[in-house]
Symmetry: C2
Subunit: 232 residues, 2 copies
């Protein structure tokens, strides 16, 4: 009997070839987004977005704290072009969703503020999609700093949409609210109100593939019922 | 503030349109597998496979215990044709990976035995890929019946490959062996030896996307080192 880990090795190898963002890959992504904006507009969706920049770790898997300045400036130029393209298709707002990892950008409140300033004159507003499982991720931000208060207080009206979930702050769990966790929905809604953030709240929950469908339906119903009363 | 769950609703709706396996979707899948076999053979891989049959739950999310007989017979006919196609491309063995859910087929030892009999005369052998996180999944199989012993004892030489992972038997976790869990690697290797199963063991571990790359590399190294000594 032998143990193989070839799948893992190959995936890591391919991933780490990309030591810096590749301009041609960025070109492909930028070109892909334009028909995506058209599709969204045709489907009646005027606001779109998602996670933004990806930075590969080094070949020894170490992750840089910061994106290289030239790559950041290239990203800002592309965000301006994307806003023009989105406006031409009828999109009225674009979102950036910060994720809790150094391999994506921006991942801190300060980086998000800088980016907001650098795209303030874009053809359509770039705002942020904050997620209750991202800002609270303790392994990255540290137990004393992790939390959503800084995001709400600092970004304020720059928050365009909110993703909501239950989590233990140890991973980006995307649990529903039938699971025990560290987020108190009442306190979450109160924090949002206290900061005057009017953005809509989306429940974003994920389930293991092997879970029975009926139990998922039941859990979603119970969670939605709870949250509708909390955020009413 | 309002709470939206439109994403979930749309996904569930689309999924549940397919109340029975659609012959045209099966045609597409069968046609897709032939060039996949060619690709594998050209890449030097002579044995390929994966999970097999998918059965949608009902629109109220209830899942049937069994695949309809006509759909099962159609599946067996297609497995014979696939074995012919695989042989023509130079593939010498095909795997079926049972998964712990009623929405896929086969998911019990008895179903696997029946399927093995029904494809025994195929152009290349159809064998099984068993997974330590599938057969042990208590929510489906029940706490008193979940376990790998039945799979090893009953399928024996019909097992062509083994997926190995750490798990708590509550979900198909795909943890590595730096995580606490209910699988004892020594006992797992002993069970395999006691049943004379010579199939290779693949470590199949998955990590949350937000986990730091260096910590993943370290965990894989420690796990591989442990398992190499256990399965030596």
């Amino acid at each position: 009997m032998t143990v193989h880990s070839a799948f893992i090795g190959i995936a890591h190898y391919a991933y780490n070839q990309l030591l810096h963002p590749d301009p041609e890959v960025r070109d492909v992504a930028e070109a892909w987004l334009k028909p995506a904006y058209r599709f969204a507009a045709n489907a009646g969706t005027q606001r779109v977005g998602g996670p933004l920049g990806a930075i590969a770790s080094r070949r020894d898997c170490r992750e840089a704290e910061s994106i290289p300045e030239a790559d950041y400036q290239d990203l800002i130029v592309r965000m301006h072009r994307l806003a023009e393209a989105a406006k031409a298709e009828g999109i009225i707002e674009l979102f950036v969703e910060p994720t809790p990892m150094r391999r994506e950008w921006p991942w801190t409140v300060a980086q998000a503020v800088k980016m907001a300033e650098d795209v303030a004159d874009a053809a359509v507003p770039w705002t942020f999609c904050v997620d209750w499982g991202h800002g609270t991720f303790e392994p990255l931000y540290g137990r004393y700093r992790a939390g959503m208060a800084d995001w709400f207080e600092t970004l304020g009206q720059k928050i365009g949409v909110i993703h909501f979930q239950q989590t233990d702050f140890q991973y980006d769990r995307h649990w529903d609210f039938t699971e025990p966790g560290r987020i108190d929905p009442q306190a979450a809604a109160a924090l949002q109100r206290a900061n005057g953030v009017e953005a809509p709240v989306f429940l974003e929950v994920l389930y293991p593939y092997e879970r029975d469908d009926a139990s998922v339906l039941d859990a979603v119903k119970r969670t939605t019922s709870l949250l509708k009363s909390v955020f009413a």
